[in-house]
């Protein structure tokens, strides 16, 4: 009932005054499009796999960031190994190529940023 009166009110308003549709409650997240209950376990697995793939991409292309992160950790025997491994991995990725993508992208970006009239 409340929804009906809201819709009626809405239609009386001009285009520029209409209430935003994006504020409606997100019912689509309660059930899948077909109306059946979603398979949460399977969806969670898909999401986890996607996140792991994202981590893998970072491991390949953001080796400098991994070096920084390892050095940010508190110093002990374990983190020493991590720092060592991060440095070695960074060296390998630099030689193989992926680690050079970041600086190249950054260079192009800085060129764009530095443009002037």
């Amino acid at each position: 009932m409340a929804n009906e009166s809201v819709a009626f009110e809405d239609s009386k308003r001009g285009f520029w005054d209409r209430r935003s549709r994006s504020l409606e409650p997100a019912r689509r997240f309660a059930r899948s499009a077909e109306g059946k209950a979603p398979d949460s376990a399977s969806n969670a697995r898909t999401a986890a796999a996607a996140m792991l793939i994202a981590f893998a991409l970072f491991a390949l292309f953001n080796t400098q960031g991994i070096r920084h992160f390892a050095r940010d950790l508190p110093g002990n025997a374990f983190t020493d190994l991590l720092v060592d491994a991060a440095d070695k991995w960074h060296g390998m990725m630099e030689r193989a190529g992926p680690a050079q993508v970041g600086p190249a992208v950054r260079e192009q970006f800085e060129r764009l940023r530095g443009l002037n009239w």
Partner: protein
Amino acid sequence: MFSPRFAFFAFLTLALALSTPVEARPVSVAVVGDSLANDLGNGMEDIFAGKPVRVIKQTKFATGLVRTDYFNWNATVRNALQHGDANILVVVIGGNDHQAIRVNGRRLDPLSNAWRAEYARRVAHFMKTVKHSRAKLYWVGLPDVRSPKLARGYRAMNQIFKREAAKHGFAYVDIWNKFHAPDGAYSSFGKSLEGVKRRIRKEDGMHFTEPGRKLFAAYVARAIGLR
């Protein structure tokens, strides 16, 4: 022609010219370092507003002499000092350096003997590189901070700065207890330049608020002869 009266007035004019305060001659101060240097630079801009003192900030947040993987001051300091016409150069650095130094595959824990030796070496290298500019050189020590652990570290690092400054022609400016409470302990509040108690340190217990920056700049300005 060279009557006593003339000589007298010539002498007076010369005396007046020589006693011109430093402010009347254009001065260029370069402030180099980390976020504390930035605070100092901002404070100087405030207190020298309208005066013939130019403040050039060459600061980079979250940097130091320890984490060369992140930013290498020693490698870039010569390029960073682009304005070679600064007549005074002030360095404030070290706020982010209370952490392990990793060099040649070894980890040196903060304030250990090996760490102090390596840190002193890095400070010396930095000072030697900076010396190539023709400016008068000042090194400002770190101020006291709220965290007791950091305060201990900073006190030790200030000893290193003082020693190396003496060796490499830098004048050392000690501001350690300039912001203390009357009982000598750390306080985020203190007498501002207006003469009343204000908040001079930010919530993080380290950086300076607006009144704090002006106070910081005023102390340093006095130490370097600009006030």
